[in-house]
Amino acid sequence: MLIEARDLSYTYMPGTPFQVEALKKINLGIARGEFVGVIGETGSGKSTLVQHFNGLLKPTGGEMCVEGKNIWHGETNLRKLRSRIALLFQFPEHQLFEETVFNDVAFGPRNLGMSGSEMEQRVRFGLTSMGLDFDTYRDRSPFHLSGGEKRRVAMAGIMAMRPEVVVLDEPTAGMDPVGRRKFMEQVSRLHREEKLTVILVTHNMEEIARLAERLFVFNRGELVLQGQPAEVFKSVSLIKETGLEIPAFSELLQQLRQRGKEVRTDLFTVGDVAGEILKLSREERT
């Protein structure tokens, strides 16, 4: 396992009247090259969890391991770790601070001790990996870009560190449909072509069902469910209890099955579902 949590617990403000157990004995593992989804309500502990993956938070109990080694034992270089396991926070455009897009994207590489052409190459990689043309954007002010562009610049700043893993915390929140689509297309392309490990925290069930190979469902600081999307969304009542939703296609196919139709329930795209239903109707006709 590339990333592994063992009995990991985290308590905010322990020993005060405001103490909150945000994570309770979490055990999970994520392998290299996977695309996993983390879902759960606000406050379910999912954001707290992903901040453990790159050592931004230190567990108050249990272990956080990367490649089998506890990152809080011995001398793991946390800075280096953070460049390998990069984390993009919610509303990442709020972290932009430099005068030019180039400098902002270069912030990560520069902190890794790079300069000159090596750094420029990284910036170029970061921008192009998010579908932004290097020469068009390099000298523009990040504050004068559109919302969608800002967000892609922020992601470029993460990609410029050439991470092995990216953790994305609700990366498309507040974006319009086109912006959402464009952003996620770039991410899944990076996953496919660059073999990037992606950990996506999201509230968008349709999207995560389509993209993720595996899902982790959190509720009140506990990992209540994990598995392939099709499996996870079969637990209708549990999912609803956690405040989440079943993707429309999942619901549709499951209802059809309940009514005695022989359909697969592990399909999440318009094309696949339409194909399945059309096949069914052809079979029924003959």
Partner: protein, 267 residues
């Protein structure tokens, strides 16, 4: 969850003690009287009686003392600094200690301890009031006390409104700064090492986004307020009307009496 981080010093703890139930105006007036007394006290015995009064009030407030001490922590640095400054630089009287050009002399020790005590008492008294008064009541109290100053064009309502908004947004901005700090750390930023200049420069990636965000929020809030018919303090009413009870008068008079007694014993 993240809201939990934002417990700040002087954060109100709801309760039902007499101190909690007193009208904020009474509490603020009492506080003003006590602060005045602190500056009039000239002897250590005066401070002792003042401290005694404080302890009694504190016990009656039923605040957890651990929580109280936590709120005090940041101020201790300033107190310590004052003490050192006086020890080293106030001259006169017997010399207690000498090291090269540095000396600690009698007057320094006396004045240092005196000032430190005064500062500590000032801070803990104020903290006691803020911990037992809801922010909104506090702002209302301020607005009321500033009312007579309207003749001098002191904008009481605006000041109170600013206080309310500041109080409302402190937790939000704390949360935000924590998030930005982590976001930059995820990009390899280092806020912990290096000398003071380096550290200050390293704060830029934190401060710029924080300011941008604060301005954006301010802008949003202004529009939202305007949209809800806000147009300053004129013709504005208040949902909560504060009722002054006998307890409040009693509180203010007692405080006044005790403060006067302490000051007089010390003269």
């Amino acid at each position: 969850m993240s809201g939990m981080r934002s417990i700040t010093l002087g954060h109100y703890l709801p309760g039902n003690s007499i101190l909690h139930r007193l009208d904020p105006r009474a509490k603020l007036m009492g506080l003003l009287i006590l602060i005045a007394a602190l500056f009039l006290i000239k002897t250590f015995s005066g401070f002792f009686y003042f401290g005694l009064f404080f302890v009694l009030t504190f016990v009656s407030s039923r605040l957890p003392w651990r929580y109280f001490m936590r709120g005090l922590k940041p101020v201790l640095y300033i107190v310590f600094f004052t003490l050192i400054l006086h020890f080293l630089f106030t001259k006169g009287g017997q010399v207690f200690w000498r090291f090269g050009p540095l000396t600690i002399e009698e007057n320094g020790v006396f004045l240092g301890s005196f000032m430190t005590l005064r500062l500590i008492l000032l801070v803990i008294t104020t903290l006691l009031v803020t911990l037992t008064t809801s922010p909104i009541a506090f702002a209302d109290g301020i607005e009321f006390l500033l009312r007579p100053l309207r003749v001098f064009r002191v904008p009481g309502h605006e000041i109170a409104m600013m206080m309310t908004i500041a109080l409302r947004f402190i937790p939000t901005l704390m949360e935000e700064s924590d998030k930005i700090r982590k976001a930059q750390m995820a990009r390899g930023a280092d806020f912990e090492s290096g000398n003071i200049f380096r550290r200050a420069r390293n704060l830029v990636p934190l401060l710029v986004p924080l300011f941008v965000s604060a301005f954006r929020r301010a802008d949003d809030l202004a529009v939202a307020m305007e949209s809800r018919c806000y147009r300053g303090g004129d013709n504005r009413t208040k949902m909560r009307q504060q009722q002054v009870t006998c307890l409040d008068y009693l509180g203010v008079f007692t405080t006044c009496g005790i403060a006067a007694a302490i000051v007089l014993t010390g003269v």
